[in-house]
């Protein structure tokens, strides 16, 4: 897949993640009850793991998805590197939070699991884009590779070989 298509895919996934994070942030600050088929959403959202340094995880998710969306709007290897760094870090942190839900909070939030799926797909797409960027970065250097051996030209003033 080309880098431009990957950027579109990353943008779409980041928008999906933004939608989930926006809903969780809205519910957090408005006090409305989450729609929850698994029954553990409120427990998870109000657990001590739902806040990092005083910032709700939902807000961190908003910032993270917005950052990845921002990298998808820009071309270049640095944007690809930033995108994969944020998406992969988000995936690692989501895995930690999923483990906290299963083994510490003993409740599962369906919205968090949905976000886990989105961020995992995002990390895969960002990695593919990053691989494209790495390959593109190496291409110009092919042209700058050691010059082909040139045929030695006769020096000015030197006597040309004469036919006998």
């Amino acid at each position: 897949m080309s880098e431009s298509r990957l950027r579109v895919a990353i943008g779409a996934l980041a928008l999906a993640g933004l939608a989930i994070a926006s809903y969780l942030t809205y519910a957090r600050y408005s006090g409305t009850q989450l729609y929850c088929a698994t029954g553990g959403c409120e427990t998870v959202q109000h657990s001590r793991y739902a806040v990092v340094a005083g910032i709700p995880i939902a807000v961190l998710g908003l910032v993270g998805y917005a950052a990845v969306l921002g990298t998808a709007t820009r071309r270049g290897p640095l944007a690809a590197a930033a995108g994969v760094a944020v998406a992969a870090a988000g995936m690692v942190f989501s895995a930690y939070l999923l483990a906290a839900q299963l083994f510490l909070i003993h409740a599962v939030c369906q919205w968090c699991v949905a976000s886990d799926v989105v961020v995992s797909l995002l990390a895969i797409a960002a990695w593919a884009r990053f691989a494209c960027a790495q390959r593109d970065l190496s291409l110009p250097r092919v042209a700058e590779s050691p010059q082909p051996r040139r045929r030695r030209l006769p020096q000015q003033g030197s006597a040309p070989a004469r036919m006998p």
């Binding site: 001590r48 290897p77 640095l78 930033a82 970065l137």
Partner: protein, 275 residues
């Protein structure tokens, strides 16, 4: 200028055109690679940059989260144990401050303060056995009579429990608050903690619960429970936890307890059940 003298510049032009010549890119990509303005950027350095970014970001997030989740008491605005509470008492009938079948032959009453550490020990270590063996089986009905004599946090917590009792969810709130109990009068009973506890109770209408917290009816119920405690222990002799037990429909008897082990309660309950 002779042709020989112009040769170096011609060679340079030829080399430039070779560099700029359009090349077929792999994977069918239509666009040429984006030029980078960062001369030091190599594929290897880009990989290192991304890897460092992942490690630093994930490390900071997980590190701060682990540090913030440590300690015995919960941070403001969060509660834990909602699932355990639901598993413990879910499906058992509640009516006001009672837990258990209304037709249970035996009644066990606890006078407790939600800030009292020994009440917490009873709630977390002893009560699960009693609930499993006597309440869930329909033999015993529990009743909580809340007191607020330790301090201001007790009053706020008891109002929260009384408001939950209006929706027959008092035991969910009691159990959650004991699980998340903080240091006495440290200000641990914050509005955000109470809201988090209320939100963690399945079926509780949080707006309704919020509206019931400070009402005259709530204050009257709290006053009534205090009157019952004073009648049993005297105004100056109130202590928690204190227990009463008896057959349903008959006067309750003070239950002296020397230990909070479930074994200290079961002989009395079995004896009452056998009557």
């Amino acid at each position: 200028m002779s042709l020989a003298a112009r040769l170096p510049s011609l060679r340079a032009m030829a080399h430039d055109s070779a560099v700029r010549a359009p090349r077929r890119r792999p994977h069918g990509s239509a666009r040429p690679p984006a030029p980078t303005s960062v001369p030091w950027l190599t594929p290897r350095r880009l990989l290192v940059l991304a890897a460092v970014g992942v490690v630093v970001l994930a490390g900071i997030l997980i590190g701060v989260s682990v540090a913030g989740s440590g300690g015995g008491s919960s941070s403001p605005g969060s509660v834990t144990g909602g699932a355990q509470t639901t598993a413990l008492i879910g499906g058992i009938p509640q009516q006001g401050f009672t837990l258990g079948s209304p037709t249970a032959p035996v009644k066990l009453v606890e006078y407790g303060d939600l800030q009292c550490p020994i009440c917490r020990e009873f709630a977390t270590a002893t009560l699960p056995t009693i609930i499993r063996d006597y309440v869930r089986t329909g033999k015993v009905q529990l009743e909580f009579r809340g007191l607020a004599f330790i301090g201001q946090d007790s009053e706020k917590a008891l109002e929260a429990v009384t408001a939950a009792a209006a929706q027959n969810k008092s035991w969910n709130m009691i159990d959650l608050l004991y699980r998340n109990q903080g240091q006495e009068n440290s200000g641990w009973v914050t509005d955000s903690t109470l809201r988090a506890a209320a939100a963690a109770i399945p079926g509780l209408s949080v707006p309704g619960w919020l509206g019931d917290r400070g009402t005259a009816a709530t204050k009257a119920k709290i006053a009534a429970m205090r009157s019952q405690a004073v009648a049993l222990m005297g105004a100056s002799g109130i202590r928690t936890p204190t227990f009463e037990a008896g057959r349903a429909g008959q006067p309750l008897q003070y239950l002296p307890i020397t230990s909070l082990d479930a074994g200290a309660f079961t002989p009395t309950l079995d004896q009452l059940l056998a009557q």
